[in-house]
Amino acid sequence: MKPFAYRRADDVAAAVALLSQDRHAVFLGGGTNLVDHLRLGVATPDTLVDVSRLPLDRIEELPGGGLRVGATVRNSDLAADPLVRQRYPVLSQALLSGASGQLRNAATTAGNLLQRTRCVYFQDVTTACNKRDPGSGCSALGGYQRYHAILGASPECTATHPSDMAVAMAALDAVVQVVGPDGERAVPIGDFHRLPGDRPHHDTVLGHGDLVTAVDLPPLPETVRSRYRKVRDRASYAFALVSVAAALDVRDGVVADVRIALGGVAHKPWRASLAEQELRGAPATEDSFRRAAEAELAAAQPVDGNAFKVPLARNTLVATLRELTGGTPR
């Protein structure tokens, strides 16, 4: 591991200032992703600015029924929070389906949002990777791509975002609160993560020195039911092949509102807008669910070894929506 300096920030302004002074400084949260990357040589900063003890560890109610989740709230605490469990079951379920107890105890909200892909080539510094080393090429193309994208990929990068939490937040229309060198701003989660395009080394729209301070969860109508379903290669402790976060509001057998995000299929949590469009106003039936899934996946472009993700995503989405309408699993 390359030597680096360690600084602990006492408040948000100091954290941002410390980073802004140093092009090669990075924030350290729970460490579950970054410490691994330091050891692998994937990350080679000069300075770590430890923000894990900033006073951002609270979950507060927002006027109107939403919640503000502090950036350093641990994943396990967020999953167990009574208000989160009551109002946003999809988020609690997503968190609990991720990683392991030990990792959730250490990982922070902001860190989870910002975790980097688990593409095996990104993690291996002896191989080419545009995300790790811009311009070096993409080893995944033509290689081992079981966990790679079927939507929104580019010739530069087919990696997927590994977070479960962020998929649920995408379905919930969360808003990321950011403090940067130029002040505060709010970024809708749909705009927070990027598709790879020709700049896959940028996972998000954050600039150097930008610090995530909180994530706001807007209120959901009481009639909305939500759920997270994750399909993976092990029964636990594995990244998603495909996951579905869905919030569904059915009134009189008709879909009044729906929000769907897919995980494991793209460089970012994939908001399934086409499926939502298909479903709004449609009868809450198996046929509608299937048509919606197919509308969303029509643009899917699987790569070698992951064509199965298309039917898998379709079936998982249909099954999740069916369960939300109270249908017993078929």
Partner: protein
């Protein structure tokens, strides 16, 4: 006298004694190799090749050497010359040639492990790269037949006229099966602490055999065996990967030579274990079975292909179990190898039987289906009276009893013969069966010393190993019964070349070999000194020969049953239930034995559902080289595992009447799971692992049965 004369009267044997090393392990005080107190150690980190084949044209160590704390940088240019380089896997840093990606091309010694790791990352190597070939394909035209296969078995066998028998068979199965490359991945990475003092080498080593390490490492450094001391009291698992020395121990010993008197600590990182610590070769097996309408086999043909390394041959004995498992007058087996630019394959739990019985037992399931027969009944109908290969009687063979008891335990009568007939809450449910087998190997060459102490106490010494298997406990029980004293009066000493030679913990042979030596030593002590030997009286015994091995075919058998549930929409596979019934002679310690068998079946389940090292042929390396991407079964993947054994009295195998149980548990599990998955879904998965994508979609599409009925 021979070692098997007279059975030991079991008293401690057969009791579920708690593991004697348990306390040390639950308090964190058990010292594994890396943790042995060695004064002020220094640390080694390896540098690995980043091409799959070629020559090193330049190796720049300047930046590495400049890192504070770095004491030495090893490369092929300055590495000590080895006295014996015939084993190319162990001829570390002896030339500029690179034979596989990840091969050691250097090492850094530093005062902290972090400095060593960082400096290693700064070594810059350039190569003259040559084209490489790292992927096993069965259709290659350069497959070759090795002289023999692992274990010394014949490469090919043929009896009768297989082609004619197949041509005239009423029912045939003709299919190709593949098993994935697997990596052993014991929880403890391969570890060496090496120190040179006065020209002698001491190795604290995570190994399955201290004497085996001594005998193989000594000649490399031009030493006499007694100039190499190997210490290994606790081992965090091995599963074959610590059964022979690999490159790490050599690199550590070389590095230590540069800092005489100081101990060098060296542990592989988890990713490095996918390059230099052995692995199970992938296999491709073409199986043809011929039978009459009643399912009686007339012909068995197995053609097995696996890979080896260009620098050293390892020939997995994939087809040997098919030679003895079932009766059929016409039989042939072949083994062919592809020589690739890959790390050297090696032993992984039940080499040969494990991948071979996957293919053979799925083929038997296909035959049962083609004959319209119950798969349990099919196996019973093909039970041979004597070993089909040698004509010798079996010393004991209770496969049928295992099948019947297992069928009772799993509720086999609930199984629907037609696939895809049982649905429960969105899941397709099925049951499957497969047989297990593992040979009883007799490994000569071990000896043990029993020394009488004060107060009727005894010290038993033998350079054996406990990888977590239970040797500490089971061998103490054997010694106690041989001496006819309570276990508390026996102190066992193992895991050190200071103790008498012992064969490697491999081939499920440890308790047979070491136990026989201990029994022999105890009897000699009694013969010489009677029941009250004076303090300090001592006797040594040997494993010796067992003439019965010439007269009998000796195997342990078992039957495994699986219940599989498959999500109809996602293809997710779960195995809520496994049943294993084994016939393995006398069970020395039911508690540790059960752990071994449950653990073996769990590893078989892991092989069935998860384990696959994906080779990226362009790079020539395993792409998923860590525990995040190379999945082994985690807690939630394992359901109820019901292990039992039948009473089996085998007077021929050894003085304890025991058969090895370390490996048989993994043999057949994957086939039972695959067969149950077929019963559940109608999809026949012939290529491990059984991942959800293989069960997703139309069961008829392209994966249907290639069976012929006349």
């Amino acid at each position: 006298m021979t070692a098997t004369q007279g059975r030991v009267r079991p008293r401690a044997i057969g009791t579920p004694l708690d593991r004697l090393d348990g306390r040390a392990k639950v308090t964190g005080s058990a010292r594994y190799a890396y943790e042995q107190p060695v004064g002020e150690p220094v640390y080694l980190h390896a540098v690995q090749a980043t091409v799959a084949r070629g020559r090193i044209t330049g190796i720049d160590t300047e930046a590495a050497a400049a890192v504070p704390g770095v004491l030495a940088v090893l490369t092929h240019r300055n590495a000590p010359r080895l006295a014996d380089t015939r084993d190319a896997e162990l001829a570390v840093l002896q030339s500029d040639a690179v034979a596989f990606r990840g091969q050691f091309v250097g090492g850094v010694v530093a005062t902290t492990s972090e400095a060593a790791r960082y400096a290693a990352s700064l070594v810059r190597t350039t190569y003259d790269t040559q084209p490489h070939d790292s992927v096993l394909r069965p259709d290659r035209d350069d497959l070759y037949a090795p002289e023999s296969v692992n274990g010394g078995f014949a490469t090919d066998t043929e009896q009768g006229d297989v082609e004619a028998a197949l041509a005239s068979a009423a029912v045939t199965v003709d299919q190709t099966y593949t098993t994935a490359m697997n990596h052993n991945n014991p929880m403890e990475p391969h570890t060496t602490v090496a120190v040179w003092n006065d020209g002698e080498l001491t190795l604290y080593e995570s190994t399955q055999g201290v004497h085996m390490v001594r005998s193989q490492v000594a000649p490399l450094f031009g030493l006499q065996p007694d100039e190499v001391h190997v210490v290994s009291p606790f081992v965090g698992g091995g599963f074959g990967s610590k059964g022979t020395p690999h490159a790490p121990v050599v690199l550590a010993a070389m590095a230590a030579r540069l800092v005489p008197g100081r101990a060098v600590r060296f542990a592989l990182t988890r990713p490095q274990m996918f390059f230099v610590a052995g692995y199970r070769t992938p296999t491709v097996q073409h199986i043809r079975l011929g039978a009459d309408r009643g399912g009686r086999l007339t012909a068995i043909s197995v053609d097995a292909v696996s890979q080896t390394s260009r620098i050293k041959e390892f020939a997995e004995q994939t087809a040997v179990a098919a030679r003895m498992m079932y009766a059929a007058p016409h039989r042939r087996t072949t083994h062919r190898l592809a020589r690739l630019d890959v790390p050297v394959p090696s032993w992984m739990r039940a080499p040969g039987e494990c991948p071979g019985m996957f293919a053979a037992e799925v083929a038997m399931d296909e035959l049962a289906e083609a004959c319209g027969l119950d798969p349990v009944e099919l196996r019973i109908r093909n039970e041979p009276a004597t070993d089909p290969e040698t004509g010798r009687p079996f010393s004991s063979r209770n496969l049928v009893a295992c099948l019947r008891e297992g069928a009772r335990r799993i509720g086999w009568e609930r199984r629907e013969q037609a696939p895809r007939s049982r649905r429960e809450a969105g899941h397709l449910v099925g049951l499957g069966v497969a047989a297990s087998v593992y040979p009883v190997f007799w490994m000569p060459g071990s000896s043990a010393t029993v020394r009488a102490g004060a107060g009727g106490r005894y010290t038993v010494s033998i350079g054996a190993a406990d990888l977590g298997t239970g040797t500490w406990t089971a061998l103490a029980q054997i010694a106690a019964d041989a001496l006819e004293v309570p276990v508390e009066r026996v102190e066992l000493r193992i895991g050190d070349t200071a103790f008498p030679p012992a064969s490697v913990a491999g081939g499920s042979s440890g308790i047979t070999a070491w136990g026989s030596a201990v029994v022999h030593a105890a009897r000699r002590l009694r013969e010489t000194y009677g029941n009250a030997p004076p303090d300090g009286a001592e006797a040594t015994g040997e494993t010796g020969d067992n003439p019965a091995t010439e007269r009998f075919a000796m195997y342990a058998f078992g039957a495994q049953f699986a219940e599989v549930r498959v999500d109809e929409e996602t293809g997710e596979v779960r195995v809520p239930r496994l049943v294993g019934v084994f016939a393995a002679g006398c069970v020395i310690n039911p508690k540790t034995a059960r752990s071994q068998l449950v653990g073996g079946m769990t590893m078989g389940l892991s092989m069935a559902l998860h384990e696959e090292s994906h080779v990226d042929g362009r790079l020539g390396q395993v792409a998923n080289h860590d525990l995040a991407e190379y999945h082994i079964a985690a807690n939630a993947d394992v359901g109820d595992i019901d292990v039992s054994w039948i009473d089996e009295d085998d007077p021929h195998v050894n003085p304890m009447g025991s058969k090895g149980i370390g490996e048989i548990g993994i043999v057949g599990t994957a086939a039972a799971v695959a067969n149950a998955a077929h019963n559940a879904t109608g999809v026949r998965v012939r290529d491990l692992p059984i991942t959800l994508d293989k069960l997703l979609g139309d069961p008829g599409a392209g994966n249907g049965p290639a069976v012929r009925r006349r």
